[in-house]
């Protein structure tokens, strides 16, 4: 072998691939790659080691290709110059190694440049792409037009990057000189921004640094990127914001450091919530203006589906607003519901976009609704994926918005009731300091954190091809979470030190002195900023504060509720009979949160079964109550049974007074829940069982609009057996060690196999889950509302139509549904169907079996309940017909299913 090798000659070549197309649409990439050889740069030329081939992951034209910009070709020749196969080693005398470069795929991520041991790779702006047009209509506009004309996606990511940040120049932070001397933060008690709390009411999170991370979802970030950021947060002593992709079960030891985000997709199992530090409601973001996003099927892999509790490999939508999520009406109800769920000591936050219109009022509304903190998402923020037009339509400047929020909250006497986190365009410690001087309690840095992991803003987050492994799950192992988290910690500490120095330079002692101190001046030419920050002194106080208002807005804590009603509560609690308690609500005698607190008190004393009598629309019934069974006689109010878990609930009508109180349920009942079963012997209003993850839901009559919105695909066992309990109150080093240990186990599995096979292990974990099922009987009063099962992601809905309505359902049926099915009995015109679904007019045996099981259980549940005479008769007739001629009932059903999302056109 040694002799043979001596005879082989190596020849190296660098070649560029032919352009894929010619003509005006052959735009090429924005960047060109050049690799220098030994002749051009002696000692630094390419040695054909192949590192760049492994480093580059970018290939938009052919995403399935194993190669990106670089590929290596080896051609073997024998002594006569004939091509031979590499396997015929004894004949090989010449090996030609060709490094092929496909410059049209380069995005300037610089992974190859930084990994090349020879520094032989250079990336330049492609003049063919950039040197076109005129100043007014330059390369950006022309290429945008060509992309659209060619039918290419208008999605980009990270940031539009047009122009400099408004924080870049023209601001001057004051310095104390003679009037109030500057201080020394190195050797004295000065400038210290430590021991702060996020949240100013009962719920608080102690923070050691004023700089937060921002919400970025698991899925948009790789497992490793999330873990690195999470570990950095634990190390730094600040909360970790999860984004709306929930967290991985492996990360549950750090739950007490995590604030879950509830976006319009409501993704996640929503269990073990008492282990988390709080919940943030996502009402909008700078990048997509509250539109929500769409996770493509190819990114919704088995592991993501496990976290989000959806069907894998289907598009996922985080859809538009409705009155459970986003609506102003919902704000106080949502806080009330989350407070019932989490108790008084967990944080509830609101993330809002820095809109141009009514921003101060939005902040005030949020504070009045009882949120603990507000996160302002200002212009210049970045995102994982957004349409160019959204990136272009940025929010307002962070300093301006912070100032507006601060002023508005002060005027309402609410500023010291709520914390402000401001983020979106904070570039460094200077920007962070400005933001805090403008009134923020904390600032958020998102993109800066990703630079530590390698991000060079190549704007390819949305492609899943990030070569640094930040936004590409497949390449996540390129990040070592423990090491990367140390880098983040060092960066934040460096900024923190800068800020403490600046605060000391202002003569300030601590965090409290800094917030809203306004010791800066804008001297640039932006008219809005100059008008706001460029003229004269800032008044120290607002003109008018209405302090009286503030105590009226906030819901009473359980402690206060009990203290104010001890006698009343104790009198009721005396009726505890073993594990049972009957509570006479007396129509209007016990208010919603009082009732919730009373039930919690009873549950703490061992009550497992509740009978609530004479209920008249009280809200949040059952939310946050750990028990086995709840029976309600009367009308169930908004947001009741939200987040319920493993509980059986029956709602029955109350005929005990002249006025019948029907067993109806108002808006948002049973949202985001995992009950064993919920039976409503009446009708339900809008958004019933929206975001439900698992369980059985039966409604004797009809539902309002958007019932079963985003219904999920069931609760995987993985979420039923987390050991999060073990880490409650644990030292942060114990948590960090456990995170590392679990990651090492994961990495050991990952490196042994391909990414595809690695994910298949998670497919197994989805097998045993049971999708949620909701069955509606329909009433005489109305049919099912519009948008039934909109965006559903795995659940099953059944409309029995026991009253034989000619038009059983409204419009946009199952619109945007990506998984699951609806069985509807009665006529449905094609026009009534939503987008992306189709109707099948016949049932399989399996369908019939399933329906039989559901109908039997439905009749068992409601046949014995006196609902109202007209309905009772209809149900009786339906039952008789079903028992006599079951096929005549089954024959009336159609099935609505999604057109496979895999065949739909990608929006990318």
């Amino acid at each position: 072998m040694t002799d043979m090798k001596r005879d082989v000659v190596f020849k190296r070549q660098i070649k560029y691939t032919e352009p894929a197309s010619r003509g005006v649409y052959a735009q090429g990439a924005k960047y060109w790659v050049k690799v220098t050889d030994e002749i051009e740069e002696p000692g630094r030329g390419c040695v054909h080691c192949g590192t760049c081939v492994e480093a580059c992951t970018h290939n938009l034209t052919n995403p399935a290709s194993p190669d990106g910009v670089f590929s290596m070709e080896e051609v073997c020749y024998d002594a006569d110059g004939n091509r031979v196969r590499a396997e015929d080693a004894d004949k090989v005398r010449l090996i030609e190694k060709i490094l092929w470069i496909n410059p049209d795929e380069c995005c300037n991520c610089k992974r190859c440049v930084k990994m090349c041991p020879q520094r032989a790779i250079k990336v330049y702006e492609n003049p063919d792409y950039h040197d076109i047009g005129v100043t007014l209509t330059g390369h950006e506009e022309i290429n945008n037009i060509l992309n659209r004309a060619a039918g290419k996606s208008s999605i980009s990511s990270a940031h539009l990057g047009r122009g400099k940040s408004k924080l870049y120049t023209d601001w001057l932070i004051d310095a104390a000189e003679i009037l109030s001397p500057t201080r020394d933060h190195m050797n004295e008690y000065a400038g210290q921004m430590r021991s702060m709390t996020l949240g100013k009411r009962i719920a608080r999170f102690k923070c050691d640094v004023p700089i937060m991370d921002v919400h970025q979802s698991y899925g948009s970030n790789s497992h490793e990127a999330v873990l690195a950021r999470m570990m950095a947060c634990v190390k730094l002593g600040r909360p970790f914001f999860t984004g709306e992709g929930y967290i991985h079960p492996d990360m549950m030891p750090a739950a007490s450091h995590c604030i879950l985000q509830f976006g319009s997709g409501g993704f996640g199992p929503w269990v073990e919530l008492d282990k988390f530090a709080g919940i943030s409601m996502k009402y909008g973001q700078d990048a997509k203006k509250g539109k929500g996003g769409r996770l493509q099927d190819k990114k919704n892999d088995y592991e993501i589906a496990l976290l989000r509790c959806v069907e894998a490999l289907r598009h996922l939508s985080s859809p538009n607003p409705q009155h459970l999520q986003y609506s102003i009406e919902e704000l106080p109800m949502r806080v009330e519901s989350l407070r019932a769920l989490l108790g008084d000591k967990k944080l509830i936050g609101a993330d809002v976009y820095g809109t141009a219109w009514n921003f101060p009022e939005i902040c005030v509304a949020i504070a009045k609704a009882g949120f603990d903190y507000i996160t302002i998402k200002a212009g210049d923020g970045s995102t994982g994926a957004a349409h160019l037009v959204d990136l272009q339509n940025r929010g307002l400047n962070i300093i301006y918005l912070t100032h507006k929020a601060d002023l508005a909250l002060r005027s309402e006497g609410l500023r010291e009731q709520i914390s402000i986190i401001a983020e979106g365009g904070v570039m460094d410690s200077f920007g962070a300091m400005l933001t805090m001087l403008a009134g923020a309690d904390f600032v958020g840095l998102g993109m800066r954190t990703l630079h530590v992991l390698g991000c060079t803003l190549c704007q390819r987050c949305h492609t899943g091809q990030c070569a640094w492994g930040i936004t590409s799950r497949k390449y996540g192992h390129r990040i070592d979470p423990a090491t990367a988290s140390d880098g983040i910690v060092r960066m934040i500490k460096s900024f923190h030190e800068d800020m403490e120095g600046m605060a000391a330079g202002l003569g300030m002692s601590n965090h409290a002195d800094v917030i809203g101190a306004r010791r800066f001046r804008y001297h640039g030419n932006d008219p809005l900023l100059f008008e706001t920050f460029g003229r004269g002194e800032t008044p120290k106080q607002v003109a008018h504060v209405d302090v009286r208002e503030r105590t009226k807005k906030i819901f009473k804590s359980r402690e206060v509720s009990y203290a104010e009603n001890t006698e009343k509560f104790e009198k009721i609690l005396q009726n505890i009979d073993g594990e049972n308690l009957k509570i006479d609500v007396g129509f209007d005698q016990i208010e919603s949160m009082q009732l919730n607190h009373l039930m919690k008190e009873a549950a703490d004393r061992g009550v497992k079964k509740f009978y609530l009598d004479n209920v008249m629309g009280q809200r949040t019934i059952g939310t946050g109550i750990k028990c086995d069974e709840i029976t309600v006689r009367g009308l169930v109010g908004n947001h009741s049974f939200a987040f319920a878990r493993d509980v059986k609930i029956n709602v029955i009508p109350n005929h005990s007074t002249i006025t019948t109180v029907p067993a109806n349920a108002q808006v948002g009942v049973a949202n985001t829940s995992n009950p064993s079963e919920i039976n409503i012997a009446g009708d339900v209003s809008d958004l019933f069982a929206a975001y439900a993850i698992s369980g059985t839901f039966r409604v004797a009559k009809s539902g309002g609009v958007r019932n079963l919105l985003l219904m999920k695909a069931g609760l995987p066992d993985e979420w039923k057996k987390t050991d999060a309990d073990k880490y409650v109150g644990a030292d942060k080093n114990v948590i960090l060690n456990e995170l590392v240990r679990r990651y090492q186990k994961r990495k050991a599995r990952r490196v042994k196999t391909t990414w595809g096979d690695f994910l298949k292990a998670f497919e197994q974990k989805l097998h045993n889950r049971k999708p949620p099922v909701a069955v509606y009987g329909l009433g005489h009063e109305k049919g099912m509302g519009d948008y039934f099962m909109e965006y559903a992601q795995g659940g099953i809905g059944v409309v029995l139509n026991v009253v034989n309505r000619e038009n059983p359902i409204g419009y946009y049926v199952c619109s945007g549904m990506t998984a699951g099915a609806a069985y509807i009995r009665g006529n449905i015109a094609e026009e009534q169907l939503g987008v992306g679904v189709r109707k099948i007019d016949y049932l399989t045996m399996a369908d019939t079996e399933f329906l039989k099981e559901q109908i039997d259980a439905f009749l068992d549940t409601f046949s014995g309940v006196d609902i109202d005479p007209e309905y009772n008769d209809s149900l009786k007739a339906f039952k008789a017909r079903y028992e006599a001629e079951p096929n005549s009932v089954f024959g009336g059903f159609c099935k609505v299913i999604p057109i496979s999302s895999l065949t739909t056109e990608s929006n990318e």
Binding site: E329, L635, T659, D683, S685, G785
Partner: protein, 398 residues
């Protein structure tokens, strides 16, 4: 900007200002409850308490037919301060109105307890028909009153507001909670008086503009009063449609545009179904499934550029009282809930089932309850406490 000084003596107001503007109201989701028929006010007020959690910076009540025994118009006016009263009374007089009598509506003690404008009741006589014709080319006294009240409210928006200007109905507003409104106006004094409909509104607390309470509802102008929750994304389109019909907003909110649109459509002789089509609109798929004749009728209405701009987009439940007619509806997307309960004596309309059933419970009434389908109109007439449900094809001019 509206440059016409006639409509803005104190400051120029753009349509944007009228629709909210930088300091305007974010028109949130409020609690609504309305009743028509034979009922007890106290029971209704008690039931409305359950909506209080929704809104705490505004509570208003309109009582229909409260002043039916008077033969003059009853203005409820709030003045920013007492020193504006004489000046603005003079303005009313220059508009041809005669002040027959005036009295305080609020006991002195409440001015010490609350941050209140001066609130007065005026008995107003309109000019003679000849003078009305001379001044405004209007012969109908109700129309005349509406015209001058609208003008007054727009011109003196910073200093005063006529928040009730009906011949028969009385509207009572505060920027506080319902109990405050009840106390400040001593609403229980009307318990045994005649009334045959009532609108109650509890306002969501997001306003910075406490000035002259332009946020609280019912918004009332002449014989129109209405309550609404939600905020319309179509507020500009709706305001422009009315503007081009020379129907001017006086409070400036999107809510007001709905009520004035309903009034315009009812008085123009459109049927309830047509009003539903115009304001709530239909999904295009629904139109396809309509009978040919209906499709043509629908298309004809949509062809009218003004009616086309009256579509209500965005979250809304709205209840409007026009003369003896009470109508309610939601936006087509049903981004707000709406419940109705009826029996032979009463019709109850509310933004929550709880409020409707509570009212029935306190009134000792059994109801037939239903939530109208998304974007469907319901209408009732009430005369002398007798209530009847209106058919879909009913027209006011029938």
């Amino acid at each position: 900007m509206i440059e016409d000084k006639e409509y803005s003596a104190s400051r120029n107001l753009s349509v944007n200002d009228f629709s909210g503007g930088a300091l305007g109201l974010p028109k949130g989701a409020c609690g609504l409850l309305a009743v028509a028929g034979d009922f007890k006010l106290s029971a209704l007020l008690k039931a409305a308490r359950c909506l209080q959690y929704r809104g705490r910076t505004g509570a208003g009540v309109t009582l229909k037919s409260l002043y039916r025994d008077t033969n003059f118009f009853n203005f409820h006016i709030m003045f920013r301060s007492a020193d504006k009263i004489a000046e603005l009374e003079q303005v009313l007089i220059t508009m041809g109105l005669r002040i027959l009598e005036k009295k305080d509506m609020v006991q002195r003690k409440y001015y010490y307890e609350y941050d209140l404008p001066v609130i007065m009741h005026y008995s107003i006589i309109p000019p003679s028909p000849e003078e009305m014709m001379f001044r405004e080319k209007i012969r109908d006294e109700s129309m005349y009153i509406k015209r001058v009240v609208a003008r007054f409210n727009r011109m003196y928006i910073d200093d005063a507001r006529i928040f009730s200007s009906s011949k028969y109905n009385g509207t009572f507003l505060t920027a506080f909670e319902l109990q405050d409104t009840i106390d400040i106006y001593d609403l229980h004094q009307y318990e045994d008086r005649f009334y045959d409909a009532c609108l109650i509104h509890l306002r969501w607390p997001t306003s910075q503009g406490r000035g002259l309470w332009w946020g609280p509802q019912p918004i009332s102008l002449g014989e129109v009063a209405g309550v609404h929750n939600g905020h319309l994304s179509s507020d500009m389109a709706n305001a422009r449609a009315l503007e081009q019909l020379e129907i001017m907003l006086t409070v400036g909110t999107d809510s007001e545009a709905i009520f004035l649109s309903v009034e315009y459509l009812l008085r123009s002789g459109y049927s309830l179904e047509e009003i539903e089509w115009i304001i709530c609109r239909k999904f295009p798929q629904e139109v396809k499934l309509m009978a040919q004749e209906k499709q043509e009728q629908y298309a004809k209405l949509m062809d009218d550029p003004l009616l086309f701009r009256m579509k209500m987009s965005g979250p809304a439940t709205a209840i409007t009282l026009v003369d003896d007619v009470l109508v309610g509806f939601t936006d087509r997307d049903h981004l707000r809930s709406f419940s109705v309960g009826v029996n032979d004596k009463i019709a109850l309309l509310g933004s929550e089932q709880r409020a409707v059933i509570s009212a029935a419970y306190f009134m000792h009434e059994e109801l037939k309850m239903f939530d109208p389908e998304a974007g469907r109109i319901v209408g009732f007439t009430v005369k002398n406490k007798a209530v009847s449900k209106l058919d879909y094809g009913w027209k006011k001019n029938d």
